[in-house]
C-alpha cells in the first residue's frame, strides 16, 4: 500500500511536470518541469523496484544514472537560457515571447 502511494505520487508528479512543460513559457520553469517529470518517473520506478523481496538494486542504479543525466541536460539548458537572454533579452522561445 505504501508503495502504491509513492507510485501514484510519481504519476501525479509526471502529470504536473507535463503541464508545466507545455503551459509555462519561461524556460527556467520548463527546466524545472522537466526535472519534475524525471523525478516523478523515477519515484514510480523506485516504487516498482521495491515490490519484490528486498530492494532491487538495478532500478536504483538506473535512477542514479538518470539523475546525473538530468543534471547534465539541465546544466546545458540553463546555459542556453542565459545565452538566449543575453542575445535576445528574453528567456522565452522567440514565437512564445509574446506571451510574457
Amino acid at each position: 500500500m505504501n508503495l502504491t502511494v509513492f507510485a501514484l505520487t510519481g504519476a501525479a508528479l509526471v502529470g504536473l511536470g507535463v503541464y508545466g512543460l507545455i503551459a509555462r513559457v519561461h524556460m527556467l520553469r520548463r527546466i524545472m518541469a522537466f526535472n519534475l517529470i524525471g523525478s516523478g518517473l523515477f519515484l514510480f520506478f523506485g516504487a516498482a523496484g521495491a515490490r519484490g523481496v528486498g530492494l532491487d538494486p538495478i532500478p536504483q542504479a538506473l535512477i542514479i544514472t538518470g539523475i546525473v543525466v538530468a543534471l547534465s541536460a539541465s546544466a546545458l539548458a540553463v546555459g542556453l537560457v542565459v545565452a538566449l537572454a543575453r542575445s535576445s533579452g528574453t528567456a522565452c522561445l522567440p514565437d512564445e515571447a509574446g506571451d510574457t
Binding site: 524556460m27 518517473l41 516498482a48 538506473l62 546545458l76 542556453l80
Partner: protein, 489 residues
C-alpha cells in the same frame, strides 16, 4: 569482438585527448582518432560479414544482470555510413572550423563534440539494452544541441534551446516506456524482452517509447524543431545533425518494433506510423519548396526524406517468403537511411563550401556558383539524384524495394509515397540547382582549396555507388535480421 570494442572506445579516447591536449596537438589527435575509428569500423564490418552478428556481454555479465551489445548487419552498416560521413566532416571542418578561421572556441569545441557524438552513435547502433539506449540517446542529444549552438548566433541559440526542449521531452517519453517495461518484466534486454510474456501495460510502454522516439526523429508533426536547428549550425555540424542524428532514434524504433515487441503491432498502428511518414514527405517537401535559403531547403528535405522510412511498418515482409523480395521493405528502409545519410551530408558540406565562398546561402546570391566551383555543383547534383530516388543511386534501390514490397503485399497505395515524393523532391531541389548552374554570377566567390572541394563530391558519389553496388550491402543487411523483417509485423 576486439573490433567492436575498439570501434566503441576509440572515438571516446580521441575525444578525451582532444579535450586534454594543448591546442597544437588537438587537431592531429582528433584526426588520428577519426582514422583509427574508421579502420575499426571496417574491421568490424569484415568480422560481421565473415562470422555473422557479433555479440558481447559487457564485463562478462549476461543480461538481465549486465548489458549485451550486438553488431548485426544493420548496426554495422550504419556504423560504416557514419564513419564515412565523419571522415568527410572532419576533412571539411579542418578547413571550415579551424581555430584560425572560426576562432579558438569553435576550434576547441567542435572536435570533442564530434567525436563524442560518434561514440554515442556507435554505442546506440549496437546496444541491446533499452536503458543503455536511453543513455546513448542523451549523449547524442547533448552533443547535437551543443553543435547547433556552436556558431553562437542568436538564432542558433534559440534553435538549440528549442531542439533541447523537444529532445528532452522525447527522452522522457522514451524513459517512461523503459520504466514501465522494466517494472513489468525485470529486464531491459531486447532479446530477453522478445521472449517475455506479454503484460497489459506493454502497449502503453511501446506507445510511450515510440512517441518519444518520433519526437527525436522529427517525424511530422514533431518536426518543427529540426529545420531551424539543422540550418543554424555550421555546415559540418549540420551534416552530422541531418545525416546521422535522426538515424539513431529511427534505429531504436526499428529495434523495439521489429525485435523487442513485434507482437504488439496492429494494422492500425502500422498504418498510422506510415501515414505520418507520408505526411512528412508531403509537408517537408512543400515547405522545402517555399524556402529561399539553401540550408533550409536541405533541412526541410530531411523532414521529407525521413518520412519514407516509416513505410517500413506496414510494408515489411509483404507477402513473406512467398515473394522473391521478402524483407524488401525492411532492407529498403535501411537503404534509405544509408543513402540519405551520405547524400544529405554531401549537400550540407557543399552548402558549407558555398557559404565559405560567398558568405551567404541565399539562392539569389548563389547564382552561377557552378562556374567557379564546378565540383561542388556536381556534388550537389549527384546528391540530388540520390534524394530524388533516381537510378542508379542508392535512393533508387530504396525506393524500388519499398514500392515492390507495397505492390507485393497488395498495399499499392503506399507506393504513391516514394513515387510522389520523388517528384516533390525534384521540384524543391530544382531551384537551388538552377541557381547554382545559372550562367550569370551574382557574387565573386573566394577561392576554396581543392582538397576541400572534393569532400562532398566523394560523399555524393558514394551515395550513387551504393546503389550501383547494392547487392553486397543488401546481403550484408540480412545478417542478424529479425524474422519479422521478412514475415511482416
Amino acid at each position: 569482438m576486439t573490433a567492436l570494442i575498439s570501434w566503441l572506445v576509440l572515438p571516446l579516447f580521441a575525444a578525451l585527448a582532444a579535450i586534454a591536449l594543448p591546442s597544437r596537438a588537438r587537431l592531429p589527435a582528433a584526426l588520428l582518432g577519426v582514422g583509427l575509428t574508421v579502420v575499426a569500423s571496417i574491421w568490424l564490418t569484415i568480422e560481421v560479414w565473415n562470422t555473422g552478428a557479433v555479440t558481447v556481454s559487457l564485463g562478462g555479465w549476461r543480461p538481465p544482470i549486465g548489458i549485451a551489445l550486438r553488431a548485426d548487419g544493420l548496426g554495422a552498416a550504419l556504423g560504416v555510413m557514419t564513419a564515412l560521413v565523419m571522415v568527410a566532416v572532419a576533412l571539411a571542418a579542418r578547413h571550415e572550423l579551424a581555430a584560425k578561421v572560426a576562432g579558438p572556441r569553435i576550434g576547441f569545441g567542435f572536435w570533442p563534440l564530434m567525436l563524442l557524438l560518434w561514440a554515442a552513435l556507435n554505442a546506440v547502433y549496437v546496444a541491446r539494452d533499452l536503458f543503455n539506449l536511453y543513455v546513448g540517446l542523451e549523449l547524442i542529444t547533448l552533443t547535437a544541441v551543443a553543435l547547433v549552438a556552436i556558431s553562437g548566433k542568436a538564432a542558433a541559440i534559440a534553435a538549440a534551446l528549442r531542439y533541447l526542449l523537444f529532445a528532452l521531452a522525447g527522452s522522457l517519453l522514451y524513459l517512461a516506456g523503459v520504466v514501465l517495461t522494466y517494472a513489468a518484466h525485470g529486464t531491459l534486454d531486447i532479446s530477453l524482452l522478445a521472449a517475455r510474456t506479454v503484460a497489459p501495460g506493454d502497449a502503453l510502454a511501446l506507445g510511450l517509447m515510440t512517441a518519444g522516439l518520433l519526437v527525436k526523429t522529427a517525424l511530422f508533426p514533431f518536426h518543427v524543431w529540426l529545420p531551424p536547428a539543422h540550418s543554424a549550425a555550421p555546415a559540418p555540424a549540420s551534416a552530422l545533425l541531418s545525416a546521422l542524428v535522426p538515424k539513431a532514434s529511427l534505429l531504436i524504433l526499428l529495434r523495439i518494433w521489429f525485435e523487442a515487441m513485434p507482437e504488439l503491432a496492429t494494422p492500425m498502428t502500422q498504418s498510422a506510423l506510415a501515414s505520418l511518414g507520408a505526411l512528412a514527405v508531403i509537408w517537408g517537401g512543400v515547405l522545402a519548396l517555399l524556402q529561399s535559403r539553401l540550408k533550409l531547403i536541405v533541412a526541410y528535405s530531411t523532414v521529407a526524406q525521413l518520412g519514407y522510412i516509416f513505410l517500413v511498418f506496414p510494408l515489411a515482409g509483404g507477402d513473406g517468403a512467398a515473394q522473391p523480395w521478402a524483407a524488401g521493405a525492411w532492407t529498403g528502409a535501411i537503404f534509405q537511411m544509408l543513402a540519405h545519410g551520405l547524400a544529405k551530408a554531401a549537400m550540407f558540406l557543399a552548402a558549407g563550401i558555398y557559404i565559405a565562398a560567398i558568405g551567404s546561402d541565399r539562392l539569389g546570391d548563389m547564382r552561377g556558383l557552378a562556374r567557379a566551383l564546378p565540383m561542388t555543383g556536381f556534388a550537389f547534383a549527384l546528391a540530388s539524384i540520390t534524394l530524388l530516388g533516381l537510378p542508379p543511386s542508392a535512393g533508387f534501390t530504396a525506393k524500388y524495394l519499398m514500392m515492390t514490397a507495397a505492390f507485393a503485399s497488395g498495399q499499392w497505395a503506399w507506393a504513391l509515397v516514394p513515387a510522389g515524393g520523388g517528384l516533390l523532391a525534384a521540384a524543391y531541389l530544382y531551384r537551388p540547382l538552377s541557381a547554382i548552374f545559372a550562367r550569370d554570377t551574382a557574387l565573386t566567390p573566394r577561392p576554396i582549396p581543392w582538397a576541400w572541394q572534393t569532400v562532398p563530391l566523394v560523399l555524393a558519389a558514394l551515395s550513387v555507388a551504393l546503389g550501383l553496388l547494392s547487392s553486397i550491402p543488401f546481403e550484408f543487411l540480412q545478417i542478424g535480421r529479425p524474422e519479422q523483417a521478412a514475415e511482416g509485423l
